[in-house]
Amino acid sequence: MAARYDRAITVFSPDGHLFQVEYAQEAVKKGSTAVGIRGKDIVVLGVEKKSVAKLQEERTVRKICALDEHVCMAFAGLTADARIVINRARVECQSHRLTVEDPVTVEYITRYIATLKQRYTQSNGRRPFGISALIVGFDYDGTPRLYQTDPSGTYHAWKANAIGRSAKTVREFLEKNYTEESIAGDNEAIKLAIKALLEVVQSGGKNIELAVIRRNQPLKILESKEIENLVAEIEKEKEEEAEKKKQKKST
């Protein structure tokens, strides 16, 4: 049944699906996980780094990209599609600065990306972008923002979200653990992101890439050493938790 309605993007199925868009969302689910957390004075993006081949240079594929000084995004899905979207978004950020004399708000650039994606779901001969994006940043009035877009062109604001492989698991973890205290400080927010990623990433801190934006500061990508330290801290905290529980049980 679906076979008849999924050839062209511009064809609805009888029960109201756009199959190409849904298949694009499947492509996203195959991509590596990305998680975004909105703190009080910080926004964090974490992605699962795919293990590179032995002869491959590590730093050529970056999944977290700056769109402007105060906005950055991470994606899950087809890397090539993401490159195009990121390019267009970067141009739009500068264009906005030129015409309107103001930096973009995170919502504006998200809306732009979402409109771009939607356009590709409604034209001939083109397929939708196979990426979901997490866009984080600070508006010029200092409010932190996190938005998520998907291949259909919708976007929503989130407090914390995950996309890509095992996104559901990570999201459930975040729903349980995103509390006021868990994002009380910058470090806590970063640790929450790492903890969320550790749920689904194998072999620990080596495969995690993390970026933060603090208010009035540009994007900062954490070095692997810092990530290792934070992972070690998290491990220690986990052990202490386990110890406490054991003691409680024994007494």
Partner: protein, 389 residues
């Protein structure tokens, strides 16, 4: 306004604009041919009255005007440039008329002025519309409100100014609806400048100053703090740069203090402590149809501007009260109208604050002239009596 009418292109523009709009509505993008056709057919009506100088200049190698219809076709690329930000519509009037060389560079027959001070922005203008040596309208409006917190003074061709002001109002309203906030004066000036750019080199003549109050939370608090500082006119620039610094890569507040002006550092500290501050305060920009876009604290435009500048440069300071500022503005317009033939009749004063713009009742400068004569007579009489004693 005055001398423009010697080469009277206002009619052409209105006609070509309305035709082009109609064509645009039918969805064709390559309208330049159409509009060019229309303009050409109208160009014969250019020479309604005999201008001895222009004919002679047609033969001379020196060309004052520049545009030929072929160039208007190549204006499409610049159109693309300012259409790509998705907020600008495609239904703009296109410049496609053929222009005739100007017999001489024209001044704009008016006096308008605007300046910033601690109480907001003050804009003032005369009200005389002149037309080749006669007063076409003694009570025209040269300061046009654009929206609740912005007014614009107009100078140049009154038809062009009125039209472009209304187009600007429309665009600002659309921006507000689409993005949920008012566009800053800087952005509005940018927008107007981009809209006028395709007409560069044609006879379109708009020289406007945009006076506005940029919105944002914590208007009064934020602003009063700045107002209580010393009155350097350059402070406008520095208070702009902290906003720019927010986006540049400054890692700690202490680095920002290295800006040489003390006022900016206190402003930045305030910004760091109150997270929700956006730049808010008075803003003044000058936009001209030849492409100029300037930010400043004091502008005067028009044939009477030299006279106005002399009064303004003497008296305008940041720390003026509203009454003092109003009286300086009135005085400047009055002096300019006294000497400049193309300015006169009444004076309009508009005051823009965080709460919007307010307008003073229009004042007849004739009365002012007689009042001054009376004052001078009294002075002389008093001096006469003291001397005689």
């Amino acid at each position: 306004m005055a001398l423009q009418d010697l080469c009277n292109f206002d009619g052409i523009f209105h006609e070509s604009i309305s035709t082009v709009r109609h064509v645009m509505a039918s969805g064709k993008k390559k309208t330049c041919n159409y509009a060019a056709g229309v303009a050409l057919s109208n160009s014969t009506s250019l020479f309604h009255f005999y201008i001895p100088v222009a004919e002679y200049l047609d033969e001379s190698p020196i060309q004052f005007g520049q545009i030929s219809t072929t160039q208007s076709l190549s204006r499409n690329p610049s159109q693309e440039l300012f259409l790509s930000p998705s907020s600008l519509p495609a239904s703009f009037p296109f410049a496609a008329s053929q222009s005739v060389p100007l017999p001489f560079p024209m001044g704009h027959g008016t006096t308008t002025l605007a300046f910033m001070f601690q109480g907001g922005v003050l804009a003032a203008a005369d009200t005389r519309s002149s037309c080749s040596g006669l007063v076409a309208c003694p009570a025209s409006q040269k300061v046009l409100p654009i929206h609740s917190h912005m007014v614009g003074t107009t100078s140049g061709t009154s038809a062009d100014c009125a039209l472009w002001k209304r187009i600007l109002s429309r665009e600002l309203r659309l921006y507000q609806l689409r993005h949920g906030r008012r566009l800053s004066t800087s952005g509005a000036a940018k927008l107007l400048s981009h809209m006028l750019h395709p007409f560069k080199g044609t006879e379109l003549c708009v020289a406007a100053t945009l006076c506005g109050w940029d919105g944002g939370e914590l208007d009064d608090r934020c602003y009063d703090h700045r107002g209580s500082e010393t009155d350097h006119s350059e402070d406008r620039e520095t208070t702009k740069t902290p906003k720019a610094n927010l986006e540049t890569t400054v890692s700690a507040p202490s680095e920002k203090v290295s800006l040489s002006k003390t006022q900016s550092s206190s402003f930045i500290k305030q910004q760091c402590s109150k997270r929700k501050i956006r730049f808010s305060g008075p803003s003044l920009f000058y936009v001209c149809s030849d492409g100029t876009r300037l930010e400043g604290t004091l502008f005067s435009v028009g044939s009477g501007s030299p006279y106005a500048y002399s009064i303004l440069d003497q008296g305008v300071r940041w720390g003026l009260t509203v009454e003092e500022a109003t009286s300086i503005a009135r005085e400047a317009v009055y002096r300019a109208t006294h000497r400049d033939a193309y300015s006169g009749n009444f004076v309009d004063v508009y005051h823009v604050t965080s709460k919007g713009w307010t307008r003073r009742t229009r004042e007849d400068l004739k009365e002012e002239y007689y009042r001054e004569k009376e004052r001078k007579k009294l002075e002389r009489e008093r001096q006469g009596t003291t001397l005689s004693e």
